[in-house]
């Protein structure tokens, strides 16, 4: 019972997904839209409630059991609590109950996003340039024929894609476009066929109950 119900449900839901592609008739599309616009949307919201529950549980445990770096968990919970209060009561566009500015100092959810989330995220990926530089020096070795081809094509594109590529030779930018339009398309398309077939096979196995990893074990 614990497996048959989910497996029949996934079969029916999968069938509905495929049928919505086959039948354009509005009297069927009405049901298809309800499934998508109401059911799927609400489920995705509840899935997030579950995720937050597990995140908070992990950090509460860390604090309770005084695990390593538990003090930082306090920081997380305070930051989460503070921003959640500001967001929930301050409203998405500072249109909520809670005032979100003291004098000229604003702290509505969008300001928090622009001045905390964006700088942290963009700094993390600015690191990538440094990792790229050190990886270029330490990891990208010409170990085999394939690696040589990869690096030669990379050099041509790296130089050709720059504005200065034009000054080296009139044809260089055109040659880079050619590399991207012909050999690159052939290589990528070959891989895309493989992956697409993999996607179709795995989707079929999931819907027909052959692939049960998502059930997550247990009886």
């Amino acid at each position: 019972m614990k497996k048959t119900i989910p497996l029949t449900l996934i079969f029916i839901a999968g069938l509905l997904g495929v049928i919505s592609f086959v039948i354009p008739h509005p009297s069927y599309q009405v049901y298809d839209e309800w499934i998508r616009n109401d059911l799927l949307r609400v489920l995705s919201a509840f899935a997030v409630v579950l995720a937050l529950g597990s995140l908070l549980r992990v950090h509460f445990d860390k604090i309770k059991r005084k695990r390593k770096n538990w003090q930082f968990s306090w920081l997380l919970l305070i930051a989460f609590g503070g921003s959640a209060v500001v967001g929930l009561f301050g409203g998405v566009a500072a249109d909520g109950v809670l005032p979100t500015a003291v004098g000229s100092f604003q702290f509505d959810i969008q300001t928090l996003y622009e001045n905390i989330v964006i700088p942290l995220a963009s700094s993390m990926f600015a690191l990538l340039a440094f990792f790229m530089a050190s990886a270029a020096y330490r990891a990208f070795r010409v170990r085999s024929m394939e690696a040589t081809l990869l690096l030669v094509a990379a050099f041509i594109v790296m130089v050709g894609v720059l504005p200065m590529g034009y000054s080296i030779s009139k044809h260089l930018p055109g040659f880079v476009q050619w590399i991207l339009n012909v050999p690159n398309v052939a290589g990528q398309r070959g891989i895309v066929f493989g992956i697409a077939l993999g996607v179709v096979a795995t989707s079929l196995k999931i819907i027909l109950g052959i692939e049960r990893a998502w059930l997550g074990g247990g009886e």
């Binding site: 354009p24 899935a47 990538l128 990792f131 050190s134 990891a139 690696a147 196995k205 990893a213």
Partner: protein, 361 residues
């Protein structure tokens, strides 16, 4: 009447041979009007589309630029309409003959996608055929994939050094195929860490994948007869946000110093952050993804990389589950069919006038 006389005098040629039909395979509500261009097409502004539902009084419903010969009109299903098309040159109008009567209706089957249904039946049929045979125990051969041998060595290395293994499934959702393939490989790796009693760390970025991964690791430990060794906190939800997830895993890599990192699943830009930090800690790294854009990094920075479909084949090969092997065989045959279709279509396309490309719309 007067306008027609007027254009006869001025000589503005009306569009001819009006054809109307209900747009096929749609949800209804659309009628397509087609016509031959007016002789003066070059010098006119465009075409006015007139519609009437009683055959007498026509009202304008649309306009389209010159040298265009088709227009889709939004209509009410079941109502019978007639159309006229007029060539327009500022105030001058040249009306065509009225079209035949037509009514729009919704169709139950989308006929335009026949080629997709055929492809679905062929590919689905092939895959199910081989899975059926695999279930009945038929021996299916798959060639050895280099990256897989490394998995056993990597787990062995971690055990000797008494260091943990980090296995992360990337940012993918439960419905991403790379995530599913990675879950299979996680199941096998978890069995090995259970046997060798090696610490396993599985940080997750997606809530649903987290719940599934936890169950799979628990099941692998019980399957190998070591339910006691299973540590529930070894599998945990780190952060949905890409950057927080990358920073979190980097923190784990530098703090726990795992001997082996498995980066298998769907990855985005954070792939280099993980691969380079992992390389810096000196760990053996096995990567596998179908995210094409990240493959160049894994190929250059990791010891072994499963490229796109090799990841799907690896999850079949390593788990030796007949069902997965059957799917890979089905996909192989599908590739043969795609290659054959390419060759045959090219031969037809080159030698005959048949518009072969329309078969692949």
């Amino acid at each position: 009447m007067i306008t027609i006389l007027l254009c006869a005098l001025v000589g503005l040629a009306p569009p001819t041979d009006i054809r109307v039909f209900d747009a096929p395979s749609d949800g209804g509500g659309v009628i397509v009007v087609e016509w031959n261009l007016s002789a003066d097409d070059a010098s006119i502004d465009g075409y006015d589309i007139y519609r009437s539902d009683n055959g007498i009084d026509f009202s304008k419903v649309g306009f389209i630029g010159k040298s265009r010969s088709s227009y889709s009109d939004q209509t009410e299903d079941g109502v019978v309409y007639q159309y006229k098309v007029a060539a327009v040159s500022d105030t001058l109008l040249a009306f065509s003959e009225p079209s035949t009567e037509i009514a729009s209706e919704a169709s139950w089957i989308n006929v335009g996608k026949i080629n997709i249904y055929i492809a679905m039946v062929i590919f689905g049929g092939l895959i199910l055929y081989f899975i059926y045979h695999a279930r009945r125990g038929k021996k299916l051969f798959i060639r050895k994939i280099a990256g897989l041998q490394a998995i056993d060595d990597a787990v062995g290395r971690a055990t000797e050094m008494g260091k943990p293994i980090l296995y992360t499934l990337g940012l993918g959702y439960i419905e991403d195929i790379a995530t599913i393939a990675s879950l299979n490989i996680l199941g096998e790796v978890a069995k090995k860490t259970a046997q060798y009693d090696t610490k396993l760390i599985v940080p997750n970025a997606d809530p649903i994948v987290y719940t599934v991964a936890r169950e799979i690791v628990k099941e692998s430990y019980t399957k190998v007869g070591r339910p006691d060794a299973y540590d529930p906190d070894s599998v945990f939800f780190l952060a949905r946000e890409q950057m927080a997830y990358a920073a979190g895993i980097d923190g784990i890599m530098t703090r726990e110093r795992p001997a082996t990192n498995f980066l298998v699943g769907y990855f985005a830009a954070e792939s280099l952050v993980l691969a380079e930090t992992g390389a810096a800690t000196g760990a053996i790294q096995i990567a596998g993804t179908d995210a094409l854009a990240q493959l160049p990094f894994f190929v250059t920075a990791c010891d072994y990389t499963l490229i796109g479909e090799e990841l799907y084949a690896a999850s079949a090969y390593i788990s030796k589950r007949p069902l997965l092997l059957g799917a890979i065989k089905g996909e192989d045959w599908a590739k043969v069919i795609i290659a054959a279709a390419l060759i045959v279509a090219s031969v037809i396309g080159l030698l005959s006038r048949f518009p072969i490309l329309n078969l692949f719309q």
